[in-house]
Symmetry: C2
Subunit: 343 residues, 2 copies
């Protein structure tokens, strides 16, 4: 059994913001739909692929990171939801649904199974295993609960608030009884935050000439927790508006990843005067909490207490556009690519 295996090729290391031309959709490659005997590997059909900002870091030729760079000339890699087609591994059987790192292509041969999860299918959309129940959702859960030390009644700012991580942070904060304001980059997203995701308020940072003044308007009492998904100017403005013993969870710095010389953060002296704890984290340090996370979030979702917004692109051909859109904020909600429908 052979099939065509369309791929999204990483053309080479880049500087600055990713462009669609940094990736190339290659058709006409064929693949044997068999896992080689004795390999312990298994062959999957990819159903959904996840577009995540951290992937930008793998597009640089920098080997000292927590993740190795992508290989030029090879397909991108990322989180996906896939179905096993053929297997030389007794733990994974044809038909099994899995979530984990896979290739940006129609079919992938999976050799490393350490971080794969088998999906127990129920009435939750399969693609949610890339967002709400996947790495971004877990990032929100671990970052908010374990890094922010949140307490009922506290004032919480979330940036990139309608994104894959931010939307869950805000909802978890609301469920705890916090006052939550989200920052995002369009009026449509602001509307989503206010009316669908249940934030107390939201604003479009692009319409705020003075972020410090904006934060003073939305947080006259100051900010206890800033869940920082962007870095840069918003971080500097938040530092000016933190309350005493505030906490900043440093989750992503989308605004800085693309710049070789970002403007720099100028207001760190507030860390001292306000005794702020600012902490970077990676969800991978908290994987022991993953089972509890799944249980909690699935339960909340099934009770209708949380919702999750996805931006779904159709087909591998749309992958370069979907990925690049992350960095201009074009996506609304978690960006996913549907490679194939689950049958």
């Amino acid at each position: 059994m052979e099939a065509e295996n369309k791929q999204v090729i990483f053309k080479g290391f880049i500087e600055g913001t990713p462009k669609e031309t940094d990736l190339q959709v290659m058709a006409g490659i064929s693949i044997k739909l068999k896992a080689p005997k004795g390999s312990g590997a298994f062959l999957v059909k990819n159903l959904y692929l996840s577009c995540d900002p951290y992937m930008r870091g793998r597009m640089r030729d920098f080997r000292d990171s927590y993740l190795p760079p992508f290989v030029p000339g090879k397909p991108l890699e990322g989180f996906g939801v896939s179905q096993v087609v053929d297997s030389d591994n007794p733990s994974f059987k044809p038909g099994d649904l899995i979530s984990g790192i896979t290739g940006w292509e129609e079919y992938s041969l999976i050799r490393r199974t350490e971080q794969l999860r088998k999906i127990k299918q129920d009435d939750i959309p399969l693609s949610f295993h890339l967002g709400l129940l996947g790495m971004p959702g877990f990032t929100a859960y671990a970052g908010f609960n374990e890094v922010c030390s949140p307490k009922k009644g506290e004032y919480v700012l979330v940036s990139a608030a309608s994104g894959a991580v931010g939307q869950l942070v805000g909802q978890l904060a609301k469920l705890l009884g916090c006052h939550v304001v989200g920052s995002s980059g369009s009026s449509q997203k602001v509307d989503l935050l206010r009316n669908k995701l249940g934030f107390d308020d939201a604003f479009n940072y692009k319409e705020e000439p003075d972020l410090d003044a904006a934060l003073k308007r939305y947080f006259p009492q100051g900010i206890d927790i800033y869940f920082d998904n962007v870095g840069g100017e918003m971080l500097d403005a938040a530092l000016l508006n933190m309350r005493i013993h505030g906490r900043i969870a440093v989750c992503g710095m989308v605004s800085e990843k693309n710049l070789s010389d970002p403007g720099g953060i100028h207001n760190l002296y507030n860390l001292i005067t306000k005794r702020i704890r600012m902490q970077g984290f990676l969800q991978s340090d908290y994987l022991h909490l993953y089972p509890r996370f799944l249980e909690d979030v699935i339960s909340l979702y099934k009770q209708g207490k949380i919702v999750y917004v996805e931006d779904m692109n159709e087909g591998l051909e749309s992958a370069p556009s979907a990925f690049v859109g992350l960095f201009s904020g074009r996506n609304i909600g978690k960006q996913v690519i549907r490679v194939a429908r689950y049958e």
Copy 2:
């Protein structure tokens, strides 16, 4: 009984680095050596005054800080060691030695007693109550033990390492079994760190054209703990050299206090990739630990396990020069002014 009461007057709010001309030594004022009846106050003779970088913050007209600004036309205030001359407060008797906030003058009338400590005199120099046993020493103790979460064998960088705080941080780290390297601003200080204060190594940052390269040389394995007394470029270089799960205690930002537009910190993305906790603190949040601190540090000092270096200026006339010297790093060790000898 009247006496002359020489004073060091704060002339007015300043921008930039303090200059000697921002202060004025005023002679010819006289004071009654009596505490007014019914005032609950007491009159002290000031013996030693402490020069501390935080005082720069009180020279700005900024009322939103954790400390109020100095009053133009009035004497500076700061930590001092004083002796009670006359008292209307039954808890403080003539002859008592106290340590706490007093005026930069020969005699002060003290009304607020909340943060005063009575000094039990023993064989420790009285002036040490401004440094080793005072606010700077306690800053080192609380910051290192409570903020840095230090463990035996860890790699520790201390900036402004021969200063009032840094010299104790380094010695506490050595006593715990850490590898400690200090940064300071002259070869004389480097010598002090290496040969008197027991640091494993030390360097003169002014002779290092590339701080990142310097840190890579002194910490080929990376830095677990950075006790940051300076901010600025050293902080940016340290961020590049932190180890995974490193900790940065943000204690002072001498290099930033004087600048209206510091260059900015550019390497905060390391907080994420290395999961660093960066925490500002003030010693005043940890005052419940003060009794234990005194007991611990006095014991260590009496056993000869720690030493403490002071830079002593003689006479109130030298106060402007002593204070200003802090900001050019002219002092070697804790800067103190002797106003009068204890008799």
